[in-house]
Assembly symmetry: C4
């Protein structure tokens, strides 16, 4: 099996992962309309390519919140990487560092923040946070991340409750007994997530700012109104995201929402996007529409499922090559 | 078989109901374009979700014509519930009462109004009426319903003749001998329905008003012109409906028609909608577009077919949970 | 097999006709895009139904060029009816007369005009004409038709050459030896049709008018420009037609073209339409968009293939019932 | 197997060519969206046919850059014709001359320019050029072509790097050992093409003009901006092309791009188009939208694969017949 494009990794993961793990990663809310729209929306966008530009030398490096990365593709926060590969998030961290890009580690990692840091010292990492009913627990997590050298705090805003992913309900999805959500003190009960606080509001951004000097990036914004609020509350970055179509079904595709968010933000903070990136040309489209960088979720998991750290690097290299080629061909 | 969403109940009913009963419930007129459009039209509507609202407490109760229901989903009038479950409409009435919502009992029930009332005393119920050639029969029905405590009279306006449902013609559909349309004196001949009066006009609303003090809700309105006429003739409510796509094929989807009816009515009477509701997010869309409440037809029958009263409650609970989750996720 | 709708007759004909005959009747030009568009375009048109109109009595009779027909559906000219039923056009003529509607007999009939007349004396019939290189032959045909009591002359304008119907080429389609295009003196070579005159222009309408006192209806008009020319040249009627999608592929669907033709004609001559009529509601749509009457082509052949005269009557009766029901349900 | 339309040749080639050759010819970049869009975009364009024009005599000859061709369809440059037929480009040249049309020979021919010239003396031919890192090699090729009587120089502008054609990567596509890219001195390594110069810019047009008196046609233009630049740099013709969807995926279909290019050019140079031509009516559409002539790529290869020179003539004859018929039927 030759791994030529990201779909090859998807096919591999679907074939070799346990069904319950594949279903969990693949799941979308309800009818999976938004999950699929994230991809279809990219296909509806057309390039206007220009010819006979000198494309012999191209610099694809960029900076996000001041840190240079080798190309504008980072790793979005997703949970439970040990479901994809035994070493879990440690492999993810190593691959991201090897490719010189940014990895957003999830609260729901199956490795501790400390293990992740130790696995790939010096890598650029942000930490993704859910605010818990027990605010002290959240505070402790933020401060651990800061102390370990994470350089950004990503607040997920679209999960007051977990979306309805039918296959997970059917499968009675839960982590196998030998895996743990190690960043949380007590054993984690996946399907309930009852410690998430649905009463979180924009004012909690101020509370977070009081806890840490890390820049705050808000993830899950889909409208100009919320983008305006995010800027007003002093965040440093926005990730346009619909949680991979796993939360509210039948909202906008992220690449479509990106346009209105970028317009509302008017350059005051950096805007990123995740969801539906499957080809280097998707990255180019997102950048052309105003994103500073994109993040990949499921494709990173497919890479892990294929060959751990090495597989994820393969995925990133393919995206990098395709991105560079698209830039050249689009002039 | 785990029952996670309404489609699971549909699959169950299709598998376990006698073909002739399934076909009757599933039937749409002609090419079934409108039946299917009712569902597709919901999928075309996109949310604009807002984040970081306090969604820890949500009140999903509402009032229809002054009566409180636990959430804005009622049971639309459909005929022949014994085809789905031996206890027929008695089970329906019990499930609706248990869930504290409104049940619109059909003229074409296989239980009498009295049986329905006795089965679930105190439940909120409306009575659905066709006007017959024999006006005295209609008058008697209305007055029975009023005496039994039904709290609304739903006049179906879109059935001067029965639509052409090809499978019913092919199957030679008729009720099995042991079932009867008990509310009508003489044995009921399904396929002819020749006692329906196709000469009914808007003036007959005045006649109905002279018979009863019950509020009159007109069902089957799809245009602003008819909505205006309904208001002018003094009805208390409008159900935007195309009879589940069983009458005129290739008219508008109900969720599309809702918009123009709500606009025409300008709040003067309550507007409801039925047809195509399959998920809690569909309910939220209908409410966002101006409906006070929605009614479900086929899904209620699937619930009955699954486990009678209990199955219908399952259907309603799923819709309730999904509706609440959609509200939270949409902010 | 119960014959409930026109598709049932189509399925029957496809199953029981010799492949070469089925292919010939079903054929569209090139990719059959226009043939299929004729049907799809009807599906895109939506009714705005109105309720509570008195629809107890409906008069569906109409007049075309002064002659009353029982409902606004006639038989379009199609060739070679003996391929569908042994009695060929004689059966067609009898069915049309029995249903009191108009039958347009084709030049390419497998019965003579005299046989057709004799089979159903007194029926309303028009004669369809191609202009031949040998004008004398055309003149003789016109005068025979007039003498036999045909009441209209339909000039087909869209066949200067025969369209490319791939299956006919593959099948090497030609009439079986025992069938003849009897209206033409010499044996007929189907695939060449080399006696058609591609140099015919609008001026030939004047020539036709000089030959006959019959009203002239021009068939094959699809644009406002040609409609204007038709009126200017003194025709009495226009049939909006694309020859069932058998001539130029990827032109407009007839129901779409009807709108602009009706607008251009502004009531100065009668406008009809053929192509894509499969349900009574299609007839209603065509009338609502300005057609005085529609004509059916392939469905008539399917009726013949099913049971000859009787089968064609079945087809017409179904359309009539469906048309009447649609009218009632649309208010 | 009767060869009635171009799809028949496609089916034949798919069946009888070695998979690696078929895949190479069929390949599109990435998801093949643009390759397929080239065809779909033609289907979205509708004719407005006019009737009763005298179409008994039609002249379908045209001139491109002053040379008459028998009808407005030429052979686009494609590589490696020996993969389709042993005689390779010699057969192509003979077929083009027999049909009196223009053949654009590719740099990546498996025959030398001299062999091509000798095979069909007197045929109208243009030479397609990529600019190499080694400019002397390119210069030598241009001057050989001019000396051999090629009458135009086609500069391909959309291949600074080769597009990503997944199947070719999977197949490890390379020429069989007995075939060579004979026009280049050293053995050709297909997948690298590293001798292509990605630093080529518009200024290199001036360099080309200094080398030759041949008219220069630029191939690969898709936007009005580039069309304007092309005119400004003094080219004689533009081929609107996306390289058959083999370079940047998800750019515009060529027939859509043609419209804006024609508009920008305002008749100052001739505009041609390739990509997606499968029927004579496609040719007519392209001409109606402003193309002076179209070029076919894959269909020519299918013709070669069928019967070499004779097969390609069959393809051209079918297009010619269909084009003539479309013109007649569209009036």
């Amino acid at each position: 099996m030759s791994m030529v494009c990201l779909s090859d990794f998807e096919a591999y993961a679907k074939k070799y992962l346990p069904k319950i793990a594949w279903d969990y990663f693949a799941a979308g809310a309800d009818d999976c309309t938004t999950r699929d729209e994230n991809i279809l929306a990219y296909k509806r966008i057309r390039f206007r390519p220009h010819m006979l530009r000198d494309v012999s030398v191209m610099d694809i490096r960029t900076k996000i919140l001041g840190s240079e990365i080798s190309f504008p593709v980072g790793i979005a926060p997703t949970g439970f990487h040990q479901l994809a590969w035994p070493d879990g998030e440690k492999s993810t961290a190593r691959a991201a560092r090897a490719m010189n890009t940014c990895y957003i580690a999830s609260t729901y990692s199956t490795c501790t923040l400390e293990e992740i840091s130790t696995a790939a010292p010096g890598g650029l990492r942000w930490f993704q946070l859910y605010i818990h009913r027990n605010r002290a627990a959240s505070q402790q997590l933020v401060q651990r991340a800061e102390a370990l050298g994470f350089q950004g705090l990503v607040l997920t805003a679209d999960l007051p409750y977990t979306g309805k992913r039918r296959d997970d309900v059917r499968n009675g999805f839960r982590l196998p007994p030998h895996m743990k959500v190690k960043n949380l003190e007590r054993a984690f009960e996946v399907c309930k997530m009852s410690f998430l606080d649905p009463s979180v509001t924009w004012n909690d951004i101020y509370w977070l700012q009081s806890l840490t000097r890390l820049p705050i990036i808000i993830k899950g914004i889909l409208t100009r109104e919320d983008a305006e609020l995010a800027v007003k509350h002093g965040v440093q970055g926005i990730i346009v995201s619909n949680h991979g179509g796993r939360q509210l079904d039948e909202g906008p595709a992220t690449i479509d929402a990106l346009v209105e968010v970028v317009e509302a933000v008017r350059g005051r903070v950096e805007v990123y996007v995740d969801g539906g990136i499957r080809k280097g040309s998707d990255v180019l489209k997102a950048l052309a529409l105003g994103a500073k960088c994109v993040f990949i979720g499921r494709p990173a998991l497919w890479g892990l499922a294929y060959k751990g750290e090495e597989g994820l690097q393969d995925v990133l290299k393919i995206l990098q090559d395709e991105f560079r080629l698209s830039m050249a061909l689009a002039g």
